[in-house]
Each structure stands twice: as structure tokens, then as C-alpha cells.
């Protein structure tokens, strides 16, 4: 991959080296799933469920989003999604809602970096 693109991804908080390691150095496979990330519905599902005040649906979406972010080593998103998942696991909707704007911001910048590839 070109160095500039790698840097873009790294600036958006993606630990490309760790992610590449998880794919055993298979760059094509890593890219395939990175490029698929914008179509992952769990971010949208999370926002919808939070809007509707549905803690259990929000928990399921946050949990899955956390898993994907973790597997692709999208570090800040993984951290934020984990925190929100923990809040929602114990039903703390307000606490989760407070953390949501930061997550949305991170998500947008990750999307930008990926779409620029």
C-alpha cells in the first residue's frame, strides 16, 4: 500500500501494523474488510436505538461495532464503543448518550480516511 494512504489510515486512529498482523500479513484481505467497513450497519443501528431509548438494541449494536473496530484495530473507535457497550450492558442509557457524540466524530473521520483509499 502507498505510504500516504497508510498514513491517512493511521491518522484516523487505525493501527495498520497491528491489523496487518491479525491478517497474517495478508494486505489484500485486510483492505477488503477495511473497505467493507463503511457498509457495516451497526453504527446506524446504534444511533437509531439510542434515539428510541432502546437499551438492549443499542447494546447489541455497540457490542458488534466494538468487535469490528477491534478486529480492524480502529483503536479510538474500539475504545469508545467498548465504553458505551459497558454502560449499556448495565442499562445506563444516559451515560452512554453522553459518550455518543465523541464516537460519532471518530466514526466520521475513520470513514473519510477509508473512503479516500
Amino acid at each position: 500500500m502507498e505510504t500516504s494512504k497508510l498514513q491517512q489510515l493511521q491518522q484516523a486512529g487505525i493501527d495498520t501494523q497491528e491489523a496487518l498482523g491479525r491478517f497474517m500479513g495478508n494486505e489484500a484481505l485486510m483492505l477488503k474488510f477495511l473497505l467493507r467497513f463503511p457498509q457495516d450497519p451497526n453504527h446506524a443501528k446504534l444511533l437509531q436505538a439510542m434515539e428510541a431509548g432502546d437499551a438492549s438494541a443499542a447494546y447489541a449494536a455497540a457490542h458488534t461495532l466494538k468487535g469490528v473496530a477491534g478486529s480492524l484495530s480502529i483503536k479510538p473507535l474500539f475504545g469508545q464503543a467498548s465504553a458505551i457497550t459497558e454502560d449499556l450492558r448495565s442499562g445506563h442509557l444516559t451515560a452512554a448518550a453522553e459518550k455518543l457524540p465523541a464516537l460519532i466524530q471518530t466514526y466520521q473521520s475513520v470513514l473519510q480516511a477509508i473512503n479516500a483509499l
Binding site: R22, F23, F33, R36, K66, G67, G70, T85, R89
Partner: protein, 359 residues
């Protein structure tokens, strides 16, 4: 490390997770995938023993990983195939449950390739070693059984040879005692006479019949091999071989502890009793003599008639049967005589030219 046809099954609803694990193991193993617990169970049952590991996600639609484990444990499969739980949220409750259901390891997501590989590999190695060990144990067990059988056969051969040597003081084969054994076992197995005995008991009685005349070791050659009729005095001495035989058996500790002993003792003691109570040594009447001893006594008489002995020539089997049925050679249980007559065609087969000593 790679062994042909060993398959790792990955059960996860997320394509990304499956791709990462597949990419991790596909160089060394065949990979199968399932997208939920239901499909996972179908694949586990279909792949059976070709599976070397199952990597299981917890949160899945249709059926979760814990439920999959519960079903696999109830089928005993968690003992045969190593299961791994791969989970993004390893909370204590789930981990505890999973271990109780027989999971071998709980690995957290996002996975670290080196760690997953090492942990999965070492558990698979353990299962492989366990399988090889149990195969080896089965092999050795079979070998031991084989050796035990050979030893038992040798013991019977020794007893036959010894019994024959004692009975005839000659180097005849053990055919006489073998035929008595065969006739006794045949009647007990195939007629109502043996209805109350198990297969094992009948085998023991057969074994015990071999030593019926062991007491003849105490009878002198002059009497034992006398060509003509015995005098009254000589006959009294000859009769003691029953009591002497039983005593001899009771003096061998290994014999006393053998499960055939009670039969052997009774057969040696009472195989010259008669149905009418005029036999020896105790003058037992009717079924006071156990049925198996009555059978051995009858087989002994029959075999003596159709064989050549120092004091007589061999009779034709049909003549021998007639003499016995007419009561010319002792008094026997009428029911026993009936079944003996019925079995005549089979009995004759025990006297084939290859197996008999009835020259």
C-alpha cells in the same frame, strides 16, 4: 504438524471474524465455517471425528455459543473434540459457564494471532496425544486378553495330558477326556438338562469333567491294566479312585480356588453313583447326584464302550447306545437316557477318524 483431513470449524456470525481465523489456520488445517449456532451443530455432527477443534463465538443469532456447548456436552462431544470460546466480552459468568460445559480455553477478541495459534495448537496436541494413548491402551489390552487366552488353553492342555496319563498310564492322546467334555457340554447346552446353568457354568463343568478319574493315580498298575475281570478284592481297591480323586483335588490350593473346583470335586467323587442307589462310594439315589455328574458318568460309560481298552474290544456306537438304553451298563436317569438317545447323531460326530482313539 499438518495432518491430512484435520478440520477446524469456525462458528461466528461475523464474516470479518471468520476471515481472520480462517486466514490464521488455513495453511495447516482444512477449515469449515458456520454462521450461527444451529448451523454449527449441523456441521459438528456431519464432520464428526475429522474435526480437530471448534472455535465458537458467544453472541450469535438463532443459537448462542453457550447453548451450542451445552448440546455438545450432552452428546459427550466436548470430551472428544476441543472447543474454544472466542469472545469479545469475556465476563466472568459466561467464562465460568463455558468451562463447566467443557470448553478447553476462552480466547478474547480482537484476537492476537500468535496467542490464538499457540493456545489452539497446544490443546489440539493434547487431544491428539490422548487419542494415540487410548489407542495404545486398547492395543495392549487386546494383547493381554490374547495372552490370557493362550495361558488358559495351555492349562487345559496340561490338565488333559495329566488326566490321560493318570487314567491309562500310557502315552495316549487326551481324546478320551476331550470327548467326555464335549459330550457333557453338548448335552448341557442343547437339551433341557442344562436349562438352569449359564454358559460360563457349563464351560466350567466341561473343564471339571476332565479330572473325573484323577484318583486312578493311586491305583496300582496291576489292577489298572489287568486284562481280565477284577477279583472282588481288586474291585474294592479300584472303587477307591473316586474318593481318592476328590481328596487329591481338594489338596491342590490352586484347584480349590478355581471356579471349576466345586464341579470337579463332585464329579471325581460321584461319577460312579447309580440312579438306583447301587453305585459307589456313597450310594446316592436319583437326583441326589447332581445332573452334571450324572451326565459325565454316562459319557464315561459310553466312551469306554466304543473305545478299545486293555480288557475289551471297541463296540459299534449303535450297539453301545442299545446296551446303555437296555440298562446293561448301569442304571441311569430316564430323562437323561432320553436326551442322550436324541443326541446320538451328534455324539457319533465326536468319534471321527481324526479325533478319536477308538481303533
Amino acid at each position: 504438524m499438518h495432518i491430512d483431513q484435520e478440520t477446524i470449524l469456525i462458528v461466528d456470525d461475523d464474516a470479518l471474524n471468520r476471515a481472520i481465523l480462517e486466514n490464521l489456520f488455513s495453511t495447516a488445517y482444512a477449515i469449515a465455517e458456520a454462521e450461527d449456532g444451529d448451523e454449527g451443530i449441523d456441521k459438528i455432527l456431519a464432520l464428526g471425528d475429522s474435526l480437530c477443534a471448534v472455535l465458537l463465538d458467544v453472541v450469535m443469532p438463532r443459537m448462542n455459543g453457550i447453548e451450542v456447548l451445552r448440546r455438545m456436552k450432552s452428546l459427550g462431544l466436548t470430551d472428544r473434540i476441543p472447543f474454544f470460546l472466542i469472545t469479545a466480552s469475556p465476563d466472568d459468568d459466561i467464562v465460568h459457564q463455558a468451562y463447566k460445559l467443557g470448553v478447553m480455553d476462552v480466547i478474547s477478541k480482537p484476537v492476537v494471532p500468535y496467542v490464538v495459534q499457540r493456545r489452539v495448537d497446544s490443546v489440539m496436541e493434547l487431544f491428539r496425544a490422548r487419542r494415540e494413548l487410548s489407542a495404545e491402551v486398547i492395543r495392549q489390552q487386546n494383547q493381554l486378553l490374547q495372552q490370557t487366552k493362550q495361558l488358559a488353553q495351555m492349562s487345559v492342555g496340561m490338565v488333559e495330558a495329566l488326566a490321560t496319563a493318570i487314567e491309562f498310564r500310557s502315552d495316549e492322546s487326551g481324546a478320551h477326556v476331550r470327548r467326555i467334555r464335549d459330550i457333557t457340554c453338548h448335552l448341557l447346552r442343547t437339551t433341557p438338562l442344562g436349562a438352569e446353568l449359564t454358559k460360563e457354568q457349563i464351560d466350567l463343568i466341561g473343564l471339571a469333567s476332565i479330572t473325573h478319574d484323577v484318583g486312578k493315580i493311586s491305583i496300582s498298575d496291576a489292577i489298572l491294566n489287568k486284562p481280565g475281570r477284577l477279583t472282588a478284592e481288586e474291585f474294592e481297591l479300584m472303587k477307591t479312585h473316586t474318593v481318592k480323586g476328590a481328596e487329591l483335588l481338594s489338596q491342590i490350593p490352586q484347584m480349590r480356588n478355581h471356579s471349576a473346583y466345586q464341579y470337579a470335586y463332585d464329579i471325581a467323587m460321584h461319577h460312579h453313583e447309580r440312579w438306583d442307589g447301587r453305585g459307589y462310594p456313597h450310594g446316592l439315589k436319583g437326583n441326589e447326584t447332581p445332573i452334571w455328574t450324572q451326565i459325565v458318568a454316562l459319557a464315561d460309560v459310553y466312551d469306554a464302550l466304543v473305545s478299545k481298552r486293555c480288557y475289551k474290544d471297541a463296540f459299534q456306537p449303535s450297539d453301545a447306545m442299545d446296551m446303555i438304553q437296555r440298562g446293561q451298563c448301569g442304571a441311569f436317569n430316564p430323562e437323561l437316557l432320553h436326551h442322550f438317545k436324541q443326541a446320538e447323531s451328534t455324539l457319533i460326530q465326536f468319534y471321527t477318524p481324526t479325533g478319536g482313539d477308538n481303533k
